[in-house]
Every structure is written in structure tokens, then in C-alpha cells.
Amino acid sequence: MTSNKNASANDSSAERFYEQTWDLQYKHALGRTVSRFLDGLAEGKIWGRRTTDGRVLVPARSYDDLTHEETGEWVEVANNGVIEMSTVVYEAFNGLPKPPYALAYVMLEGADTALVGYVKGLDLSVQSVAIEAVKIGRHVHVCFAKTPTGTAADYWFELEATS
């Protein structure tokens, strides 16, 4: 082995990069409650579950994190409701859908927690028009995929014609 004290190895080398991808695949067990909610989407229904203190959690959860108790009764909530919060995304993020798109949390009639989903069927090209269209309080209804995939992608929201 030779060494040269005058030219140390780190000074003369260009800084390199090493590209790696994590290709981890998962098959998450969703449990019975989530599975039944997803089945409901194929039937055009949104299901919630009632907590021990009477709130209806949507989407349905088998336990409630506030009371720390199991939920009980299944409750079908309405397919229409009101936007509680929303955003319109204009920035592209690596690995996420191409913008623009609108997201909203919607309180469906009969529910006590809001459901998140895309708001589709909107022209988002003019920002001021888009954010006005999805502002808090707008009435929307749930739309369901004609060919369900068995995932939460099987529903989205569209604005009520009247609002």
C-alpha cells in the first residue's frame, strides 16, 4: 500500500452520489370495519359508526380515539353535505397526482366527523374562481365509481348544482 501525505484522498475527489430506491411492498390488513365501509362504496352508501357518547364517525372506525372505546351501531349517513375545509393544489409533488386538484373535508348529513375526498368536475384553471367554488359552506354530494376498486378511491365529491 502506498500513501501520499501531500495529496489526501478527500481533496482530489469529486463528490459522488449513490441512487437507491426503497421498493417495499405492503398488503395492509384493513380489518372488518374498514372493509365493510369500502364494500358500501360499491353500493353507493357511506357508512359511519356510532361512538359510546353518540357521535357518528365517518368514515367508519371500529374504535373511537377520544373516548378510547369501541364503536357500536352502523349508521348510514347521507350522500350530501357541506365543505368544512378545502384546498386547491397547484404545485406538483414527485409521486403525487398532477396538479391542479381540489381536496375537501365534507361533513355529510348525519355525520359528526368530516370525510376527505377530491372535489371533481371543477375548472381549476383560474385560482380565484376555484377557491371560491370550494369555499367553506359549499354544498356537495358524493359520487361513486362505476367500477369499484375496493379502495377509498371509489368515491369523490362534486358541487351541488344549486350552490
Binding site: 384546498t87 386547491v88 409521486g95 386538484y101 381536496l103 367553506i136
Partner: protein, 397 residues
Amino acid sequence: MINVGIIGFGQSHFQTKRTDVTFPELVKEGADLALADAGITIKDVDAVVYPLAPDALIGVGNGERWVIDALGATGKPFMRVNNGGATGMSAVLTAWTHVASGLFDVVLVAGADRVSESGSAQSVLNKMWDVGYERTVPLNTITMLALSAQRYMHLYDSDETDMALVTVKNRKHASLNPYAHLRTPITVEEVLASRTLAWPIKLGDACPASTGAAGVVLVSERYAQRNNLKPAWIRGIGQNSETYWMGARVGEKSQGDHADADALAHAFDVAYQQAGITDPVTQIDVAEIYAPFSSVELHVIEAAHLAEKGKSPEGLRNGKFTLGSSGPVVNPSGGTQCTNPIAVTGTIRVGEAANQVLGRAGAHQVPHARVAIASAIGGDHQFYSTMVLCSDLEEIS
């Protein structure tokens, strides 16, 4: 109860990329800077607590094991904390517990982040959400806070200009802080004209993805006395958690609103009670509070009881919270909005607060600061850490 203080704080000059070092070498930089500031070596350290948020962002699972040699932690008690964005501060609170237990006199917290190491940070962060319900929607750390910002504006009749005022203040502060990442002053007009990421959050409202390291050294009162040290004393600490479900933070039956940070307010109350703070506005000189977006700072100021709910914009419009104003100064370092190396962002909040009460903050020093607070937020606005620091152990009145 054993009193615990901070005797050293070190941080890198933060920037977007660092290609001169490996990740462990960057972590070593944080440890070395903190130890040098404390005037001790790793040999003097009894235990190490390491902050690291998602492994996926640095690309190594249980990444803490990889950096143990670089930290000099071999042969020592060592553990890692991951409370999402609050990690850097939760780790300091965990270190506090180590010292307060009586088992250790000197505990090092040091770490680093290199957010740009991952080319798809926001798609990684999308997988924070529920596997069954919420991952099909492109939620990420920007959209989750855009939703909060929209609700804040709606509830309190606030607008995007109010958010811009936060950025203007923080950039002005950061221009005085040689370690900050975004140091160029900016105007309200420039913020408003910047491109929309997820409305109402624009580029001018957002934190950068920062690369660099930081660390603090905590000691027991007996160690400080034995070695004639004057630490920044930790007088109160708090942590609290909020529901995972953002959809449960709206509506009549919700416990708190996604516009606010009520669970953080509770964590502040816990720390204030321990410290004897009864009137935050008059008793607190400096606040180093975690707010990655301008909109977040508005409701964190309120959660810290430095303004009434919905009233922080009014304070900003009147020049409050800015260096040189009377009353508490908020984020004199420029805050998270100007520097966000995720794993150690909370550590920096504590370190900056410690520097302030010790009169060591340099160009962004708040004159005669005695009492400072620090806070951090993790998860989907879900995990909250708080701390009160003081230059002495006398009553805070």
C-alpha cells in the same frame, strides 16, 4: 425534583444541499458543535438521545443505529425519539427525563437532517395517513396545513396578507441569524405574488427543506454547580396529543378546531404552571415556536397565550412580536419558516431559546431576555411539545 439546564447549543449553517459529507458525518457535525459550545467532550457525556423523524427521508431503516459511531455514543445508553415534526424537541424532553431521573448528569441530544436526500419527500409523507381511508387522497404536510389556514381565515376574518406579515417578520429576523437557511428579506407584496403551492399557502409562506445538524447538551444542577456553569434552566415542560383524524377537528361535536391548536395550548398551560407563569404576555420575553408555514405561527402565538384567539394578525399589524418591539418577540431566529431540517428543528427551537436567556443570541438577541418559551409540532398537527426556559432559578413574577 432535579433541576435541569442547557449548557451548550450548536448548529450548522443550514442550506439546501450538502454533498461534502455522508449522513453520519453530518450528525457528527451536530454533536461536535454542541459539545464544543458546552466546553466538554463526548467522554463527559453519560447518555445520548437521538432525534430522527421518518427513516424514509434519509433512506436507512432504524437510521439511528447507523450514526452511533459518528455520535460517539458507543458504550453509552442511547435511544431514539420519533414524534414526527416534534421529534427534535421531544428528544430534548426525553433527555430532560434522563437527567431528572437522577441516573445521568450530562446528556447529549444531537442529530441532523438532509431532507433533499429523498427526491419524493411529500409522497413519502403522504403515507403518514390512514392506510384504509386517507392515502388515496394526496394529503401531505402542505395540504394539511393549507386546510388549517383556510379555516383560520374563515373563522377569524383573516386574509393572506396576515400570513404574509409573519413571513416578512421572520425573514427580517433570519437576515440577522447567520445560521438560518432563508436569509433574504421579503416584502408583503412579494409574498402575495409568490406561486401558490396549495391555496392559501404560497411559496412565500412555506419553510425550506433544509440540510444541516444541531445539538444541545443538558446537565443536572449538581453538575452545573460542581463545574461552575451557568445553564439556561428548564423551568417547565409539556406534551400533548391531538386526534389523528383531521376530519374530527371540525363540526359542532369536535373537541378542537383544525384552525387552532387547542391541544398545544394545553401543553403550554402545563409548562406554564410548572414554571409559575401566570401572565404570559408580560412574563415571557422570547418565543421560539415551531411554525413551518406562516399560517401556523398565527395560531401558535395564540396557543401560547401571547394573543387572544384570532387576534395575532392584529398584533402583527401593530408591529408586535418583532425584534425591537415591546412585549414578547416571536421567532427572533427567523424560526422554522426560514430553517427546517425536520429531525432537529425542535432542537434548534430549544437551543435558540437557551441562547436568548443567556444573552448569547448575537445580532438577533432580544435585549435583557430572561424568560423564553419553545414549542414544536409533529404528525398531522397532532403532537405538541413545550418548554419554558429561564436564565435563573428565581421565581418568575
